[in-house]
Symmetry: C2
Subunit: 433 residues, 2 copies
């Protein structure tokens, strides 16, 4: 963890570039392989899924084993800690409550001469949630990806996840999915799962929107099918930026930086402060705390590569740095955090005050933990109900209202050399003359 | 124009597939070329832009000619029909008025024990609008792409468009851009323009969001840079579907179908009706009207390839067909169009009643004419203010409120083997014990 002084004239673009390079924007070697998998699934459907699952997951499924059975879901409940299940249910309620507030409503506006304009909101009909396999299971991630779709009113939500070597899906994943009301869960992972969701197979239905995190194959497959279906954003490595003044508790800051760093070696933890004392104490606290934690090797690597303490002249300068980095998670631990927040332009989630640590948001607070990473908070938003709806414009004009505009539209269309467009207006008033 | 009978048991998936095939989802031959252009612009910046503009547009620009000058904008006003300019200004007001109603607002909700959750809305800082060159100039397209960004509050909006052979930008494009308040317009087109907007050059700034239509190079370049910046949806060939019963005027329907067909040979015009009489009369009217129009060859090709009259048993059956096709433009010309509209799930824009022809929406009504094409209305929305904003979650907890959840969060984090996440909560209450 290095302390770097930043002043008004410092160019932080090198730092920003270093962070951005954690996600190369494309990977030539993988793209071809991913495209081949997609093409094969498009063509051979379930047969291709069976072959890829054998090759990549070392599990030989028959056609009727692709879908998880009701029996398997029931069995999964026996394997899950009931205290944890209670907490999952509590979290579910909090996440639902927050997402209900994100709902948008259809609207219209009208004018007396007979003009009605508006916007109709409707949910997508089909959503597919991808859940990664591997050793780590993240029940919180299942909740965060499924609940916004449920709240949006998506009629059909399906899930795909790679099976373990025993041919089973992790029981906790099944239980959490079932708690959210999902019945259609498929034992397929990787690019082949994304292809199946995008194009459909005999067993897996084609969906309109695919969400969920995954490895590089999954990310590239999502990008490849984007446009044919919709996807959430493409997830990159995670980061936290903590903006702190001299009132902040260095031990809390240290713990929060470490909580980000434990995710993986590409995770980035950044403290931006105007207090040299806080900066120095945070370094001490990190050294003390990290010995008490289990993922020491990952912690040390990510802090060494992408951990920074930036010493700025003022919190206002710190805000500028933060807006430039556009962190996924931003903690503001200062005297007046809400006043600082007014100046924040780019951040996935903003945690205010010393009792709002980032892990609160990961699990229980309610807002989504699927957030724009690696600078994409400049243009992407947290996953939410918006991701599962789409809008239709509504236009209704009376004869009188159209008449008032008809000459303008005809002239406009003629200027674009679209005479049939002009004609569509003319025929409606040709009997007038 | 063929009349096809459809009943409850008909499978329209062949028709849907035919329409979808108008846009192959990827084009192997072009992708490499586009990626090479992007890489070259990333590396050589303005120099690469100058080379590509010479190669593709046959115009040799010097570095300081890439940006359109104030002088050129002034001169453009002399070349534009002042009546047309008045209409453009009228359209601009109507488009602004509609888009103002799309604005979303930041919100929060709070609980007395010290919990504040919310969502902060902010505009992207930089937007780039691409305007195609070529013979046809579409001032309406400039309005529709720029105004939502202006209404969203985007601080910096820039435009790129290829120069004509004389090295100038079309005067109407310049005038309309200037009317919208744009000052930074660059004479660059194609994939190189998209690369410049995505990565920045000495002259063209890097933006957060790129919008605007373009040819296959532009579309593939937008897809390639997606994730590094945000883009609008990827535009495909245009279509209209008209849902009409026996009350509809066949001449109006014919004119509206033709107005869609004149766009290009890939455009699709579809009538869905439960009235055989209307179906037959529409065929007659099309034959009569098309001789009065200028783009006869395009009209005939697009009607022959992608024009359909589908005869259904009832309007309800017609709604099902329409939802499956998910048309860009949907006209409902029936007895009770608003009641039919309640059943529509997928459509870019819905035009109700016989005095709401599609060209009204193209120019003057107010809603955006950049709409999801070719079935993507199942998951994409019209271009709008939403495209230029992003959201940040807001989370603030008091000590008391966090205390209430702290044991749950610790257990949840431990279940995911994230001990540093648990520690971040523990350190805040370690003095209690």
């Amino acid at each position: 963890m290095q302390i770097v002084k930043i002043d008004k004239n410092s160019d932080i673009s090198n730092l920003v570039d270093t962070l951005l390079q954690r996600t190369p924007n494309y990977y030539d070697d993988y793209i071809k392989q991913v495209q081949n998998i997609i093409n094969d699934v498009k063509e051979r459907k379930d047969e291709a899924l069976i072959d890829f699952t054998q090759r990549f997951d070392q599990v030989k499924l028959s056609k009727n084993e692709i879908k998880v059975t009701e029996e398997e879901i029931k069995e999964a409940y026996d394997k899950v800690d009931s205290d944890l299940l209670d907490i999952v249910r509590k979290a579910k309620v909090k996440i639902e409550t927050y997402h209900m507030k994100q709902k948008q409503y259809s609207w219209f506006d009208s004018e007396e001469k007979g003009i009605l304009l508006g916007q109709k909101i409707s949910a997508v009909s089909w959503a597919g949630v991808y859940v990664p396999g591997g050793k780590a299971v993240y029940p919180s991630s299942v909740l965060m990806n499924v609940i916004p779709a449920v709240v949006a009113g998506v009629e059909n939500i399906v899930m795909t996840t790679p099976p373990g070597k025993d041919g089973k899906v992790n029981p906790l994943t099944l239980v959490v999915a079932n708690e959210c009301g999902l019945k259609d869960i498929y034992k397929v992972g990787g690019a082949q799962a994304i292809a199946a969701l995008a194009y459909g197979t005999e067993t897996i239905p084609k969906v309109d929107k695919i969400v969920g995190p995954g490895n590089i194959y999954v990310a590239l497959a999502k990008k490849a099918v984007y446009g044919h279906v919709n996807i959430d954003s493409i997830a990159g490595p995670s980061e936290i930026l903590i903006l702190a003044d001299e009132t902040a508790n260095p031990r809390y800051i240290a713990a929060d930086l470490l909580s980000q760093a434990e995710h993986d070696e590409l995770a980035s933890s950044i403290l931006v402060t105007d207090s040299e004392e806080v900066a120095n104490k945070v370094v001490e606290e990190i050294n003390a705390l990290k010995n008490e934690l289990s993922r020491k090797e990952i912690l040390e690597k990510s802090l060494a590569n992408y951990g920074y303490i930036l010493l700025v002249d003022s919190i206002d300068e710190g805000v500028k740095v933060s807006n430039e980095i556009a962190p996924e998670h931003l903690e503001i631990i200062t005297k007046e955090p809400f006043m600082v927040m007014t100046k924040i332009k780019n951040a996935g989630a903003i945690f205010l005050g010393e009792y709002s640590p980032e892990p609160l948001g990961d699990y229980m607070a309610g807002p989504n933990h699927v957030l724009p990473t690696n600078g994409t908070a400049k243009f992407f938003s947290p996953l939410g109900v918006d991701d599962f709806i789409k809008k239709s414009s509504i236009i209704s004009y009376s004869r009188e209202a159209l008449y008032e505009l008809h000459e303008d539209i005809i002239k406009f269309a003629d200027s674009e050399q679209l005479t049939a467009h002009a004609k569509s207006i003319k025929v409606r008033f040709e009997d007038d003359k």
